[in-house]
């Protein structure tokens, strides 16, 4: 665990930079975490982040396919928004835990 300061607020993050407490999240913090990864967040990005936050809060296990079926963006589009690893990056910017398997 470590602490980082985003948008003037000090927050706890995991070794890989994911927020420890999802309540710490703000749109401004998301923008700064994304900037670190070289991504500038657009309105579409934020729609995806809101979807992920809502599903995650409801206890849903997330998958790329699920986001692709959300009606916000298809899978190709999701890759364009979050190149390289769409779910791991979008989860990081959404302030929810890193997608993980059981081990």
């Amino acid at each position: 665990m470590a602490e980082k300061t985003y948008a003037g607020k000090t927050v706890e993050v995991t070794d890989e930079g994911y927020l420890v407490n999802r309540e710490d999240w703000t749109a401004e913090i998301a923008a700064e975490i994304a900037t670190e990864a070289g991504i500038e967040l657009s309105k579409k990005h934020y729609e995806v982040l809101e979807f992920l936050r809502k599903e995650s809060a409801a206890g849903t296990s997330l998958s790329i396919r699920k986001v692709g079926k959300s009606g916000i963006v298809d899978i190709k589009g999701l890759y364009q928004l979050f190149p390289g690893g769409p779910l791991k990056y979008s989860s990081k910017f959404a302030g929810i835990p890193k997608p993980a398997s059981c081990v």
Binding site: I64, G85, K88, K98, P99, C102
Partner: protein
Amino acid sequence: MKNLVILGAGTAGTMMANKLRRALDRDEWNITIVDQFKTHYYQPGFLFIPFGIYNKEDVIKPKSDFIPSGVNMVYSAIDKVEAEANKVHLEGGKVLNYDYLIIATGTKTYPDETPGLQDKLWYKEIFDFYTVEGAVALRNYFKGWEGGKLVMAITEVPYKCPVAPLEFVFLADAYFTELGIRDKVEISYVTPMSGAFTKPVATKMLSELLEEKNIKVIPDFYIERVDNDAKKLISYDEKEVDFDVLTVVPVNMGDEMIERSGLGDDMNFVPTDKHTLQCNAHENIFVLGDASNIPTSKAGSVAHFAAEILFENLLNAMEGRPMHAKFDGHANCYIETGYGKGALIDFNYDTEPLPGTFPLPGIGPFGLLKNTKINHYGKVMFRWIYWHILLKGKEMPIEPHMTMAGKKKVN
């Protein structure tokens, strides 16, 4: 008479039929269990078939051997559940009324969800080992294979038994080494996740196994389609992986019956309270095993631990008492690593796999997150336990809730 109906006579449904028939008064409750297939598969054994360790006969028995007397076994496909009317419609028009329903229809593989998977190379150079047919076809292929690029690829999460593809590459390494052709076999592990291991402690303790065994991990690879002519996997972001033989975990979804009944999410898994195991939408429906959407592994051990919780909650619900038993997501999984060794993991919703001993703190005999011979014996013995104790719903000397006793916290 009141009616309890169980849909699905796999691991979860069969355990519940046995437990509940012993507990419920025969003059008060009819129990009916429905499944379209007559064969029970010991699914953890499928993994061993491609390497000639088990054959088909080792993993199949008639379902009827495990259904107790006093339970009405119906062999039929299910059309749908009409939850508002407390009815199950079977194929052919027969109707079952229920007071309580347990959905245990599991998860299935859908290779047709990935373009090019079930095409001209299917069961010729592309295989799955989540069906007995796929596992046997791969066995026959391996008999004559002289080496090349072996790719183990996961298409989507969640899938049944998350450690099985890891075990597959470990066993493949040992198998081709013993055949003396390991230097001609390139083994890759392709996953949509960020790595073969994703939990911090397990990553620390076990990821060296992959290096040791010279298995190449290709992370963040989300398969869009399979090119049968060029023998390539192609991802959504245009990356490619070449293969000579492809072993795949196809997309997993719940049964189509769930969709027809309007009871599922977008993957046909039933939204279920992760603690009580009650269906979110209907009070008199409970969900056990892989059919639910609870955020833990889709695995037999989970169904087993959850069965004890469901049993308590269902009996209380039937008598109008509050449901006090809460499932914690407990899972306990052997990981075969080849050469007669294995690792073991034990975890729940909140606690990731940690090192230690199991089931007896400080004694074992099994070592958590450790690669040992005794862990392998555990897996070997488990087949006997499965057929003789677990399916019959008998007591096992392991608590349903995960315990921290015997585990070490790691920072």
